[in-house]
Amino acid sequence: MSDLTIPPQLTVADLRGDRRRVRKDAGVRYVVLAAATMSIVISVLIIGSLVGEAWTFISQVDPAALWTDGWFPRRGMYDLRTIIVGSLLVTIVAMAVALPVGLGSAVYLAEYAPRRVRKVLKPVLEILAGIPSVVLGVFALRFISPEIVQSIFSDATQFNMLAAGIAVGVLSVPLVASVSEDAMRSVPDSLREASYGMGARKITTVTKVVIPGAVSGLVAAFIIAISRAIGETMVVLIAAGGTGGSLFTLDVTGPGTTMTAAIASQATGTDQVVGEALTFQSLFFVALLLFMITLLLNVVANRFVRRVQERY
């Protein structure tokens, strides 16, 4: 028998070190596991707190009240069309601003900007991302509406969805820019070099090689931005003018409301909701609708993001 043979009494447990230390590690494991499980608890709480009252609403509401002339919950008018179309209109305006500006900025930062310029511009864009939405709401009402919207459309009202949409677009620019830039940067340099090697110009390389290569990530950026725009509350609440409710409208130069603003505006004084009995419950129904829409968009966007990661 050589000296190298392991003594038979030595087990794996002996190599594990001090019992107390191992037990502490196991304890920590449970603590951090509990913390991580909080995310599931919160999700369940969100759904749980929405579903009950939303069900009360949908089972008690007169179906005719869901398709009327407008959204006036305190008068028993719950026209879902009004707030869903309102959300769509604001989102379309926002995307008309955020997509070109955000994508243009991203292409510049990822492909054209010299390192030093990029180092300055990126933090500045991030600062734009940090501006609270309530600030942009006031800015939309006091500046965008009179100086931009009303100077183009002279018959636009002071509170209008166009100004709100533009401000929501500005809010979404940094988001579009950073997600698209990440996508374009993950396209390997060898593809660019191959393109240059074929004699392609920079513009050809960018538009025919890099952008198609990053397309999944760009789609993800757009979807995330749409989800963000649909979920934006304060800008619309302050600048779009639908605080008391709104008639169904397709005119963005006039006042209107969205799903989010409908929730927030009725909540001011939730304890003493006046008028129709179902006003309080309608908030939960709209919130559930909003939750499901954004959830769907986020799931789709995550799938696109993963596709980029898998590809390169």
Binding site: G102, G104, I127, I131, V134, D271, L283
Partner: protein, 321 residues
């Protein structure tokens, strides 16, 4: 330090430019130049917006900021615009920040430690990962509904029996839940960036997982984690929509003007973003100036936090290259 140097880096791209010029045969690249101008215009537009916004609120609020800034910061809400101040809103925002730091920070980092250090790959981990990602995308107003149901109504005896649950505790906890996914995601990213050699060295000398995490991984990732927390904090301080649902006071409030009064946590409150929302709806030029001045104060707080976080991150990123 990167050891590899790619051929394209030699001469800082001068070689590439020379080759490009030769290949083009001396022709001007009009489309390319135009494209570059369009891209520059896009980013310039974004920056212009930021500049106009800051200029606009500062000029609007200048009459207040220049004449009675001290008064403005230390006075309570009032019905007269020339007497109204933001002290109570600053107190409310301060306490919301405290809740975020005390609740979200430990909880978020712990969850990130589980996901990155302890969790085995599998179905359960995937579900947690997916829920966190989805929670990060839930609109803030929906978190407000959550806060209304849980903290204001269900837990009213704890959160504020006298204020109907519409208290600072409810607001702080709602905000803490709102930013929790952001803290988890950024902390997990920083933990992922820690080189695995560091962990293996720890395990190699017989440390338990927790000893490795506590002694080596977390200290290494600390700057990144801190950056994420500060960004999350800035987000919480500027968010208004959930506070409207969990009952931030509109109009007039007599209490809540002491920074370190713990009994006020169960009382009614007002915070900077909701105060701005409230004042923005008041008619008259004087309230407009007050609103703009309050915005300037909020921007200073939020943007300072953002700038600190961004600088911190850039500093540590460049040091680790």
């Amino acid at each position: 330090m990167s050891v590899m140097t790619r051929p394209a880096d030699v001469g800082g791209g001068a070689a590439r430019d020379a080759v490009e010029r030769r290949l083009k045969g001396g022709k001007r690249d009009v489309a390319g130049a135009l494209f570059r101008v369009v891209l520059l215009a896009a980013i310039a537009l974004a920056l212009l917006f930021l500049v106009v916004l800051v200029y606009d609120v500062v000029t609007d609020g200048w009459s207040v900021l220049s004449t009675r800034l001290g008064d403005f910061l230390t006075s309570n809400l009032a019905s007269q615009p020339e007497e109204a101040g933001i002290k109570q809103a600053l107190v409310g925002t301060f306490w919301i920040g405290v809740f975020v730091v005390v609740v979200s920070f430990p909880l978020g980092v712990a969850a990130a430690v589980y996901l990155e250090e302890y969790a085995e790959k599998g179905r359960f981990t995937n579900i947690i990962d997916l829920t966190i990602r989805n929670l990060a995308g839930v609109p803030s107003v929906v978190y407000g509904i959550l806060g209304l149901t849980i903290f204001v109504n269900a837990l009213r005896p704890l959160t504020g029996p006298d204020s109907g649950g519409r208290s600072l505790i409810s607001a702080g906890l709602t905000m803490a839940i709102l930013v929790l996914p952001i803290v988890i995601i950024t902390a997990a990213e920083s933990l992922r960036a820690v080189p695995s050699g560091l962990r293996e060295a720890g395990f190699g000398v017989g440390a338990t997982r927790w000893e490795v995490v506590k002694g080596h991984v977390i200290p290494y990732a600390a700057p990144g984690i801190l950056t994420g927390t500060v960004l999350a904090l800035a987000r919480a301080l500027g968010e208004a929509a959930p506070l409207i649902l969990v009952g931030a006071t509109t109009g007039y409030l007599t209490s809540g003007d002491e920074f370190f009064d713990l009994s006020a946590l169960q009382e009614r409150y007002v915070a900077m973003p909701t105060l701005i929302n409230d004042w923005a709806g008041q008619p008259g030029a004087e309230w407009q100036a007050n609103t703009a001045a309050a915005i300037v104060v909020l921007l200073v707080v939020v943007l300072a936090a953002n700038a600190v976080a961004i600088l911190m991150r850039n500093r540590f990123e460049s040091r680790r290259m």
